[in-house]
């Protein structure tokens, strides 16, 4: 299969809550567990024999069910996802595992527990400081989750299961990172919109199939020519972003997204989980806990900023487009700090507030056009 066919498959996989791969998985009598955030390691679900399914609002045309329970001050990403769940469109889930990622998701968790009532409800209290001093707690939380899953589903998640899961997910990471490598080219063979389609698909389909598709795609991309017809290269960063059409609105103005440091983008993958020896769950926990931190984490802004600077160089980016879901407080703090640090560093920086599933293309286009002109592009 070539690029366009594979991208077509992945595009289809992310349009609605269900996709053909998921349906096949369910038809085989296998279980699916939903989760919201990268700090909840997918490897545990894979090791249990389950499909990790990252919760999103795909295909949701209305947040009305969520609106009945939550004020309009809660972000639209959360209100759409919980609306899907309340409408029964996520009934294929055999369980959910949530965390106090932010105030909004914390309340969505209450609704899952009290209204959606999944067969299994797990919750992790994830520390907000990614320092060694709190790692033990995080690891203990993962051990607790594993034990609760084993008890609920009457299964054993063995060390070998975890090792196998590490291998599978590392294979995904290796492929996604290779895809990102190709984007460093002067003429990247793939757009930001396409790359985000791929990384979102990774979160809602079985990894073995995803990895196989990626092998074909990467082989095709290695040979393919690239797109050098852009006005500027940008890195898109900020919070949750699973709508490739939003990137399309940016890219249509000539700002090519060469890396997405967002949830569902590169931040959700990171480097490989270290190979053994040693407790595999601890190695998984280390990879997740000490990943490039997101805005919910504190005492680590310098690391976040350094990572962005590193990627600016690696991807030869001309500027940064920061996007944040309206009402998101964790990213509000970072938006302020990033703006001033970028200003000090002389790096062009555009900050966009947005709503989920509303591209507001006209507004985005105007802002991006102005940004490009400001950069002299």
């Amino acid at each position: 299969m070539g690029k366009s066919e594979i991208l077509g498959i992945m595009h289809n996989a992310i349009q609605k809550p269900r996709n053909t791969y998921l349906d096949q998985w369910v038809a085989e009598g296998r279980k699916v567990v939903g989760y919201y955030c990268t700090y909840i390691p997918e490897e545990i679900f894979t090791a249990a024999g389950f499909l990790p399914y990252r919760l999103r609002g795909a295909g949701s045309d209305s947040s009305s069910e969520g609106d009945a329970y939550m004020s309009a001050r809660v972000c639209t990403f959360v209100r759409h996802t919980i609306s899907l769940a309340l409408r029964g469109e996520l009934d294929f889930l055999d369980g959910v595992v949530l965390a106090q990622n932010c105030d909004h998701i914390r309340r969505a968790a209450d609704l899952f527990r009290k209204k959606v009532k999944p067969a299994f409800y797990g919750f992790l209290s994830i520390p907000r400081v990614p320092k060694e001093r709190l790692f033990d707690w995080y690891l203990a939380e993962l051990r607790r989750l594993k034990a609760e899953m084993e008890a609920h589903y009457s299964i054993a998640i063995t060390e070998q299961n975890l090792e196998d899961a590490i291998e599978l997910h590392n294979a995904t990471r290796q492929r996604v990172n290779k895809l990102y490598e190709l984007r460093k080219r002067e003429a990247p063979p793939i757009t930001g919109q396409e790359a985000l389609t791929i990384t979102v698909a990774a979160h809602v389909m079985p990894r073995a199939e995803f990895n196989s598709l990626m092998d074909d795609l990467l082989a095709d991309l290695e040979r393919a020519g690239g797109n050098g017809d852009y006005r500027a290269r940008v890195i898109v960063t900020g919070g949750v972003m699973d709508e490739p059409e939003y990137l399309a609105a940016i890219e249509q103005q000539g700002a090519l997204s060469v890396a997405e440091m967002v949830c569902f983008g590169q931040r959700s993958f990171g480097g490989p989980v270290e190979s053994g020896p040693g407790d595999p769950l601890e190695r998984i926990a280390r990879q997740r806990f000490f990943q490039v931190p997101c805005a919910r984490m504190v005492e680590c802004f310098d690391e976040q900023f350094s990572e962005l600077m590193k990627r600016m160089k690696e991807y030869k980016a001309d500027g940064i487009i920061f996007q944040r879901m309206k009402f998101c407080d964790p990213w509000a703090g970072d938006a302020h700090n990033l703006y001033w640090r970028m200003k000090e560093a002389g790096i062009p920086f555009l900050s966009l507030d947005r709503e989920y599933r509303v591209t507001a293309a006209g507004q985005v286009k105007t802002r991006v056009q102005a940004f490009l002109e400001q950069m002299g592009k």
């Binding site: 939550m70 001050r73 909004h104 914390r106 919750f123 802004f301 509000a332 302020h336 001033w340």
Partner: protein, 435 residues
């Protein structure tokens, strides 16, 4: 007005003048003992802060999710909640100054949806209104808006910061986790303040904190009395007391004044509402901090009293056991997790938030509840549907509206007054007539 004989920034002089003016007004009023005590406490806090500045003593910033006992364990170190100026401006100064600080923070790039008190704190930092901290000690509660403010404060000051991770639940495992972090935070405080932590001093601080807690517990009991003996507005001040004065004799004096005033008024058969109370409501979520006279209006015009609100509800799960360093840290951790208003109700699952409300409605014999939804409290507003359902099931009528607790520009006093008056007329009164 000078403070400790020196000219200070206008924002501080205005609140100092406000405190002194109110003290002059109320000091002779035997029925304002609680208000006078807290005014005296505020003045003492401002004096203490500027005294520390003048003497060059180290100052440690903290946030409203973090009471100052641990900091007070260091000899000669002044604690300062980053919200203090805003609280004082809204309560005893001039809310125009708060609005200017909010605007300054937004103009500097802090999103408008961040809590107004956090924006005002950032505005205070930007305006150079706060003394330079030796370091900062924070808890990640009660909300994400605090996280935004804390991260911004760290970036603006460049000063060392330590965050205590307050976990989701409230059990013994969580207490141990937080207590361990507190123990690990002590060397951090010592390093950056240059002052030694004394366990003896910390013990005295915890004992003082316990004395305050005991008075508050009694005061909470006394306010259950029908008719409510004391004015409504005083309950909103309890959290300010805990954040600024925990472990401080001034805090105990305020709590004792609250208690004594309530007790004596009950003995004299006095009601908070002149002419007798007609309605009682539990005020939940956040108070109208920019206009405490608002509560006077409710009492005078509607004969409505607020015997208790979320900020005044003190649920001492246990006092701090001061027998060993370990038990003291555990006790302080327990207080942070299970007692401190807002942190107790806001940070974990919705259950504490709802259960406390229903318990308060029952214990304080409320005719209805008022969910005053501060627009930035996304955790509260995110739970409004479940909250309403629980209220309905419990048979407690619930009024819900959104406003901003520190910024009157979002919803005016007149609008809130209309909400409450209409709700009584349309819901509470007919319900009473039917029963």
């Amino acid at each position: 007005m000078s403070i400790l004989g020196k000219e200070r920034k206008t924002d501080w002089e205005v609140v100092y003048e406000g405190v002194n003016g109110l003290m002059d007004l109320y000091s002779e009023d035997p029925d304002s003992r609680g208000m006078n005590a807290i005014l005296k406490g505020f003045r003492s806090f401002v004096d203490g802060l500027f005294g520390a500045i003048d003497e060059g003593r180290p100052i440690v910033w903290h946030n409203c999710g973090c009471t100052p006992e641990l900091i007070k364990g260091l000899e000669g170190v002044q604690s300062m909640p980053i919200e203090v100026l805003t609280v004082l401006q809204d309560l005893v100064g001039d809310v125009q100054y708060t609005m200017a600080l909010i605007d300054a923070a937004e103009a500097h790039g802090l999103a408008s949806e961040v809590c107004s008190i956090d924006k005002a704190a950032v505005g205070s930092i930007l305006g150079g209104l706060y003394p330079e901290p030796a370091c900062m000690l924070y808890h990640n509660t009660p909300c994400d808006s605090q996280i935004a403010a804390i991260k911004t404060a760290a970036a603006l000051t460049g000063k060392p910061m330590r965050m205590m991770d307050v976990p989701y639940l409230y059990g013994d495992r969580e207490v141990e986790y937080l207590a361990r972090q507190m123990a690990e935070g002590i060397p951090f405080l010592e390093e950056h303040t240059g002052r030694r932590f004394s366990w003896d001093r910390f013990r005295q601080v915890c004992e003082e904190s316990n004395r305050t807690a005991e008075y508050l517990r009694d005061w909470n009991d006394l306010r259950r009395h029908k008719p409510c003996p004391q004015v409504s507005k005083i309950v909103a001040l309890c959290t300010a007391l805990l954040v600024a004065f925990s472990g401080d004799p001034e805090g105990t004096a305020i709590a004792r004044a609250f208690r004594d005033e309530a007790r004596e008024r009950i003995e004299r058969g006095e009601s908070a509402v002149e002419g007798g109370e007609m309605y009682r409501a539990v005020w939940y979520q956040d108070p109208v901090w920019w206009d405490l006279q608002f509560y006077d209006w409710m009492e005078a015009e509607l004969k409505l009293v607020i015997p208790m609100d979320l900020f005044g509800y003190y649920a001492p799960e246990a006092l701090i056991d001061t027998s060993t360093p370990e038990t003291m840290l555990q006790g302080l951790a327990r207080k942070s997790l299970r007692t401190l208003p807002m942190s107790r109700q806001f940070k974990g699952p919705i259950d504490n938030f709802i259960d406390d409300y229903l318990k308060m409605c029952a214990e304080y014999q409320a005719d209805f509840g008022i969910f005053a939804g501060h627009v930035a409290c996304k955790h509260g507003l995110g739970g409004i549907g479940l909250f309403r359902e629980a209220s309905r099931e419990a048979g407690v009528p619930l009024l819900y509206f959104e406003f901003d607790m520190f910024d009157p520009r979002v919803t005016s006093a007149e609008t809130i007054q209309a909400h409450i008056a209409n709700f009584i007329e349309d819901v509470v009164k007919p319900r009473r007539e039917m029963s």
